[in-house]
């Protein structure tokens, strides 16, 4: 191991929040260009030992690109990296690891079929050839207790939850001796109560003299954990400031480049007539156990019903039954007065239901196809996009350009493959496609999860506008603030049933919290 690690036990940990001395890591004037975008434009970032340094920016600001450069996954077009005062060239992750850099990527890189120990042993050549998984088990337990990262070395990755995956990724980096740890949007996969657990881990690492780069687009997290914060906007550094010196508003200003209105304009609800109804629905989950147990819920035209609840109480199954992706064992589904129980997804879509799915990358788009093609996925079979058996690409491109402008989809071109877009822009694309057909019913599952401030605001406005135009919206969200800000009525789901439906005026977080946990009748 390296000198810093060895010195850990003999030196007292540096005072939290007041790290001093030369930076452990410096990125100087990093520039990285992709076809059509300047993802990093002369970015300079200095990180000290014993600090949590937040990297804040909207989606597409270039945060992931910057740390991928640091980790050797991308080669910068210009700029230099200095570790411990020495200039280094990082050509591959191997070089990065040798410099003491570890990364917990946004999308975890774990072998699903292997055990925790095998995944960790993969990165430890020094453990010897024979039975490496056995040998690392002891070290896993040792590091796990030191940093409060409980993990079962023998468990297989596919058996674990996202937060456990994250712990394995952190362990992987720490056991390899990383002094500089990069976490790319680590809280996006965590439930609110799990976030504080992660922060405890980061504080212990900081106390041990590690440097932590913490990527986020959530403002509250900056104040909660960071010592300093660097704000990126459109590939450029806006500023680096001590986290204690800035408030929320100033951060938004830096991140978005303008003030964002925090109150949404909302006309009075004019709900009339039934848009969507579920009656006594029963359905099973993937493992064949009952997930919906006689669920009844109605959404009227011109209203938003928010569905609140703790994950795993049947939200996903409900959305799937309503959109034709899962069979209802019993019960009925009605859309705009027509019975569509157990009809195909295509039939339900034609009946006027728009679906904004939970997993936007895998279910919402075909990532390898272009923006234009994805925009007509719902309607390519009909004129004006189809002429007999052929597609009219002129019409498709015209429509795509209209949608890109109207929904502010940031893409180099209409012919760019969707996989190159950021999450917020993929979501805008999905909304453009789903809402352009003016559906009478919108089922939106976690529409803003993982999105930045301006994308979230944009999507909220779109949903409200459709509601004013008379659509019935079912909004499934784990973000209670979002539900309370948008919904006219709040339905709380608990163990496959609706525990209660409250008008938003009566829906206090306390009351909803009790219903969510099954403590109120």
């Amino acid at each position: 191991m390296n000198g810093v690690t060895a010195g850990r036990s003999s030196h007292p940990p540096p005072e939290a929040g007041a790290p001093n001395g030369a930076p452990l890591l410096a990125l100087r004037d990093i520039t990285k260009r992709f076809p059509g975008v300047l993802a990093n434009d002369r970015v300079t970032l200095e990180v000290r030992a014993g600090e949590v340094h937040a990297l804040l920016g909207e989606n597409g600001a270039g945060k992931t690109t910057l740390v991928n450069v640091l980790y050797g996954l991308y080669q910068p077009d210009a700029g230099e990296i200095v570790v411990d005062g020495r200039r280094v060239r990082i050509r591959s992750p191997r070089d990065a690891i040798a410099c003491g850099i570890g990364m917990v990527p946004q999308h975890f890189l774990l072998v699903r079929r292997h055990t925790v120990a095998e995944n960790i042993a993969l990165g430890l050549p020094q453990e010897g050839l024979l039975r490496p998984a056995r040998r690392v088990e002891r070290r896993i337990v040792e590091f796990a207790t030191r940093y409060g990262l409980t993990a079962d070395p023998g468990a297989r990755i596919w058996e674990l939850s996202p937060s456990e995956h994250q712990r394995v990724e952190i362990l992987k980096a720490l056991i390899r001796g990383a002094r500089i740890l990069v976490l790319d949007e680590p809280t996006s996969v965590l439930a609110p109560q799990e976030v504080s657990g992660l922060f405890d881990v980061l504080r212990r690492m900081k106390g041990d003299g590690h440097a932590v780069i913490f990527i986020t687009h959530k403002l509250d997290e900056v104040g909660a954990i960071a010592d300093r914060v660097t704000v990126l906007r459109r590939g450029r550094v806006v500023a680096t400031v001590p986290a204690a010196d800035v408030d929320r508003r100033a951060l938004v200003q830096m991140m978005v480049g303008r003030d964002v209105e925090s109150t949404l304009p909302r006309a009075r609800a004019a709900a009339a007539g039934e848009a969507l109804a579920a009656e006594a629905l029963e359905a099973d989950n993937d493992r064949g156990a009952p997930a919906l147990r006689g669920l009844t819920l109605a959404v009227r035209r011109g209203e938003i019903v928010g569905l609140a609840g703790i994950a795993g109480n049947g939200q996903r199954e409900l959305v799937e039954v309503l959109t034709g992706l899962r069979r209802a064992v019993r019960g009925r589904v009605r859309v705009l007065g027509r019975d569509v129980t157990n009809r195909t997804a295509a039939a339900i879509c034609d009946a006027g239901v728009a679906h904004i799915p939970e997993d936007r990358v895998h279910m919402g788009v075909v990532a390898t196809m272009t923006v234009a093609e994805n925009l007509v996925l719902r309607r390519y079979r009909h004129p004006p996009f189809a002429r007999g058996p052929l597609l009219d690409y002129d019409a498709i491109m015209r429509f795509a350009r209209e949608m890109i402008a109207a929904y502010e989809i940031a893409t180099p071109a209409a012919t760019t493959p969707v996989r190159l877009l950021s999450g917020g822009n993929i979501q805008r694309l999905i909304l453009a496609r789903e809402l352009a057909a003016r559906p009478g019913v919108i089922i939106a599952a976690h529409p803003t999860s993982g999105l930045d401030v301006s994308a979230t605001e944009h999507i909220h406005r779109l949903l409200l506008r459709r509601r004013e135009e008379g659509a019935g919206v079912l909004l499934v969200s784990e973000d209670l603030d979002e539900v309370l800000a948008l919904a006219d009525r709040v339905a709380v789901i608990f163990r496959g049933r609706i525990a209660d439906v409250l008008p938003v005026g009566d829906a206090t977080p306390e009351r909803i919290g009790l219903l969510m946990t099954g403590q109120a009748a």
Partner: protein, 288 residues
């Protein structure tokens, strides 16, 4: 007694025919565990068979024939590796091309060698069978109880994870594919030096395809490959044995018909039986 001898002889021949199938399968399993499918087994085997025969004939050294055959198989596999790993071409097309190329080239170069007797053969078939079993056990240990095994399997399951930990994905894949070629070449040598010491065009008779099928329904496990290889050795042999009673065309189909049945039975519905997740997909650093 007559009958007893017949059964014993059948078993011995079945084990003998199972041996090259086993060698080929172990090689293919290793390659596929790294994420590269190589449909060129048939081509590598036939090239190995011809090379072994020619070298043994010229030098009088069957062992030299075996070594050269292994080298030829490895070289042919490197061609596939270059095309599918470095150039990232479609693995299935490249492998098929290798089979066609191997069969064609061996047919062409082998013209003058057909019908010549081979005096110095590999005598001890059983020793070669045991060697195959030894390799199977060794591979099982390597796959599941060594660091190399973790690296190999991770590269085949999720190359991005291995890459992020500093593993050279391309190198691992090259080595695994080359090992597959070496084993296939050696399997070919077995056919032309030991099983039926002679050179005939097309003498591998579709064995390379059986190998690919066994890799699948052995669920990429070297020990299960042993059972599969013996079973198919028996089927292959029976198809020769029963020629007096059943139409030869039907018999020739038997191992392949059985392959289809076995694959259908082990497909395991939607999820399959655990093929390496990245099997057949080229890896590009940082691709999303």
């Amino acid at each position: 007694m007559e009958e007893g001898n017949w059964i014993l002889a059948t078993v011995i021949r079945a084990v003998a025919l199972g041996t090259p199938i086993l060698w080929g399968t172990l090689g293919e399993i290793t390659a596929e565990r790294s994420g590269v499918i190589n449909l060129g087994v048939e081509g590598m085997m036939i090239l190995g068979a011809l090379a072994a025969f020619v070298v043994a004939h010229l030098t009088g050294q069957p062992t030299a024939g075996l070594v050269v055959a292994a080298a030829v198989g490895g070289a042919a596999a490197l061609l596939h590796a270059f095309i599918s790993i470095t150039l990232r071409a479609n693995q299935y097309v490249s492998g098929l091309a290798l089979t066609m190329f191997g069969l064609g080239l061996a047919g062409l170069l082998g013209r003058g060698w057909e019908g010549r007797p081979l005096l110095d053969t590999l005598p001890e078939i059983s020793a070669l069978t045991y060697a195959g079993l030894g390799v199977a056990v060794a591979l099982w240990v390597v796959f599941y109880h060594t660091r190399w095994g973790i690296v190999l399997r991770s590269v085949g399951e999720m190359p991005a994870a291995a890459d992020a930990l500093g593993v050279n994905v391309a190198l691992v894949r090259y080595l695994a594919v080359a090992f597959g070629g070496v084993m296939a070449g050696a399997a070919g040598a077995f056919l032309s030096l030991a099983y039926r010491p002679a050179w005939t065009e097309g003498m591998t008779a579709g064995m390379g395809w059986i190998v690919i099928a066994i890799a699948i329904f052995a669920a990429w496990d070297p020990l299960r490959a042993v059972a599969g290889a013996l079973l198919f050795g028996a089927l292959f042999h029976l198809s020769f044995r029963l020629q007096a009673w059943v139409a030869p065309e039907l018999l020739k189909m038997m191992p392949f018909a059985f392959t289809i049945l076995a694959l259908a039975a082990t497909a395991g519905g939607r999820r399959g039986l655990g093929a390496p997740e990245a099997l057949g997909t080229p890896y590009v650093t940082g691709e999303r």
